[in-house]
């Protein structure tokens, strides 16, 4: 096989020696040795968009994105500021600026942003204290001191041999929790694993605040939910925040690209993240390198998709993707809309003084419903990574939201609440949020005298 013969430069079978120290964490240290990859990495600075993806900095609250999020994340940092992702090179800049970080945020937040993390985690440095240490006061200064880079070479490569490696311990623990053997990964697997140390769902285990991936029961949304209801609850992790409208104990889902791809058509067929997001490219006219310009593959369909799908034109492939995404986006919008209603119905249950047990039951359903759309919305491919699986989860979300509304309706009508008025008030609040042009203030219109906030003020955002 290709892999067996030594036909390539710097390959695994022909280890290179960069001469760099083992603890190198600065991208610049690699610049002269690997100018092409370095240059390619820096191209993640470029900003351009596709129909649904791309790298132009954009608020998720934009009309064309998910304008209902300030309602849906009300009471949590994600209602304050939440943006589309962009190039790796911006990772540190973006986490420093984001309004979700405050003086109580802790170290864990830096885990997927900086090359210093594996060093900080060493016993001689912060060790396990890293996770819970204060983000602004301790962790970030320490990382800067070390001369860190945003998501750099050392995150995925051994600086001395350039072998692929996984540097975040959470990944191995989580794979093992599901019983997946990762002791002898193939190169093809490594081309996914390096991404799967970050592009995954996670939570902070409550004691040490360590980053944990909830995979023990499997990668599907319902399997991860099951984990949160069992393993995580046993650990004492009950929720990310209390919803400010429904008062429900909520989970926030995060970028489950790895989980979604793995359970989708491409993943099941052994296609790796790097196959699509890092195609070989001729960088300086002579030499080919793996693109290190991670962004939408739709910007380079020729190299990324057409290597495997050569019997289709770039245009046909783009149309295929966009038609999947169009269908997906409509369904997501609808699921979020129903979820919004369910939060308000439960708010009304609270103010109308419905029986506590019924409120708790409805809150449970609202929590569940939101999980099933959020785990899909937080995924960054607008459905492409797994079209059927994503739609299945949205379907379950609509079902749970509706169950909450059904339950609420019964109780509210029993208490003599006027449901038509309730609906009108929901529309009013929603419109107020949409009409507000200052993204930071949108969240403030989600509650009002009809729908009073259910949260004590100033609950700190943790994620």
């Amino acid at each position: 096989a290709c892999g067996a013969k030594d036909t390539k430069n710097g390959s695994a079978s022909e280890p290179i020696d960069t001469g760099l120290p083992a603890d190198t964490i600065s991208n610049e240290a690699f610049k002269d040795l690997f100018p092409l990859q370095y240059e390619s990495f820096n191209a993640t600075k470029d900003m351009s968009d596709t129909k649904y993806g791309g790298s132009v900095p954009t608020s998720k609250f934009d009309q064309s994105k998910e304008p209902l999020l300030p309602i849906l994340f009300n009471g949590y940092g994600f209602a304050l500021e939440y943006n589309e992702d962009r190039g790796h090179v911006y990772a540190n800049e973006d986490i420093e600026k984001i309004a979700r970080i405050n003086d109580k945020s802790f170290g864990s937040c830096l885990t997927c942003k900086s090359t210093a993390v594996p060093q900080l985690l060493k016993e001689e440095n912060m060790g396990d204290k890293y996770w819970g240490a204060n983000f602004r006061a301790e962790v970030l200064p320490a990382a800067k001191e070390m001369g860190h880079s945003p998501i750099g070479c050392s995150d995925c490569h051994d600086p001395q041999t350039m072998e692929l490696r996984v540097t975040r311990p959470s990944f191995a623990k989580a794979m093992e929790s599901q019983g997946i053997d990762i002791s002898n990964p193939t190169k093809n697997q490594m081309r996914t694993y390096v991404c799967a140390q970050c592009h995954v769902e996670y939570y902070f285990e409550p004691e040490k605040k360590e980053v944990v991936f909830p995979w023990a029961n499997g990668f599907k949304p319902e399997e991860m939910y099951e984990y949160y209801e069992t393993v995580a609850k046993d650990q004492g992790f009950k929720s990310d925040w209390q919803h400010n409208i429904s008062g429900a104990p909520m989970l926030k889902a995060q970028h489950p690209e790895f989980e979604t791809v793995s359970t989708g058509t491409h993943g099941k067929n052994g296609v790796s993240c790097a196959d699509c997001h890092m195609p070989y490219e001729r960088s300086d006219g002579k030499k080919k390198v793996s693109s290190h310009n991670w962004t939408s593959p739709l910007k380079n369909i020729e190299a990324s998709c057409r290597t495997c799908h050569a019997d289709k034109t770039a245009e046909e492939l783009k149309n295929n993707v966009e038609s999947i995404q169009d269908t997906h986006k409509d369904a997501l919008d609808k699921a979020e809309e129903i979820s919004v209603s369910s939060h308000y119905y439960v708010n009304k249950m609270i103010t109308a003084k419905a029986p506590a047990a019924k409120i708790a039951e409805a809150q449970e359903l609202v929590r569940k419903a939101q999980w099933f759309w959020d785990i899909i919305a937080a995924e960054n491919s607008t459905g492409f990574h797994n079209p059927q699986g994503a739609m299945d989860s949205l379907k379950m979300s609509s079902e749970y939201s509706s169950e909450a509304i059904i339950l609420a309706t019964e109780e509210l009508v029993k208490l003599g609440v006027n449901v038509d008025e309730l609906k009108a008030e929901i529309e009013k609040a929603t419109k107020a949020v949409l009409a507000e042009t200052d993204n930071f203030k949108k969240k403030d219109h989600a509650t009002n005298t009809f729908f009073p906030a259910q949260q004590p003020p100033a609950a700190p955002a943790k994620k």
């Binding site: 390539k8 430069n9 390198v289 290597t307 495997c308 019997d311």
Partner: protein, 171 residues
């Protein structure tokens, strides 16, 4: 069952001998070359989809055996050719019932072809670790036979005159 396999094997080896014999008897360099060519391979019906899918690919100027026979030494090439050729010939003549509906590469083919990709494209794959998967065709799935519609020739896509009852133009 075992008996049958043995019997086939024996017949096959007779054929291999025969085939080598014929090839070397014909002896001219031209004959040897001819049995590498697409024209020769395509004389067989079962080779048609392979031929037509190859024929409009960037690799159409190659001979079949630049991919399908070892190219590292003359000896291994003719040993492989003789065995494969005899097998194909035998199947096509005496064992037609066993020819599968859709012909797929056997492991030996996969291995030989892979070596040939590497040997032609050494330069390209030298400039980058071009070894992410086991075989080149795990990515380059369409080289050169992999088009999903490979058994559909142009005739499948030519607008035609078909009788469709109830159509406004009444054709």
């Amino acid at each position: 069952m075992l008996e049958k396999i043995k019997a086939i094997d024996k017949k096959l080896w007779v054929f291999i001998g025969l085939f080598i014999g014929i090839v070397f008897a014909a002896a001219s360099a031209q004959a040897l070359h001819y049995t590498d060519s697409a024209d020769f391979c395509a004389t067989c019906h079962p080779m048609e989809t392979a031929y037509s899918s190859f024929n409009d690919s960037v690799h159409a100027d190659l001979t079949c055996n630049q991919c399908h026979a070892p190219t590292d030494s003359i000896v291994s090439k003719y040993m492989f050719k003789a065995k494969a050729g005899a097998h194909d010939f035998y199947m096509n003549t005496f064992n037609v019932d066993e020819i599968p509906d859709v012909i797929h590469a056997k492991q030996a083919t996969t291995d030989v072809v892979q070596e040939n990709c590497i040997s032609c494209h050494e330069n390209t794959i030298k400039t980058v670790k071009h070894d992410a998967k086991e075989n080149c065709i795990d990515c380059h799935r369409q080289v050169p036979h992999g088009k999903k519609n490979k058994y559909k020739n142009d005739e499948f896509f030519k607008p035609g005159e078909y009788d469709i009852s109830g159509r406004e133009d009444g054709v």
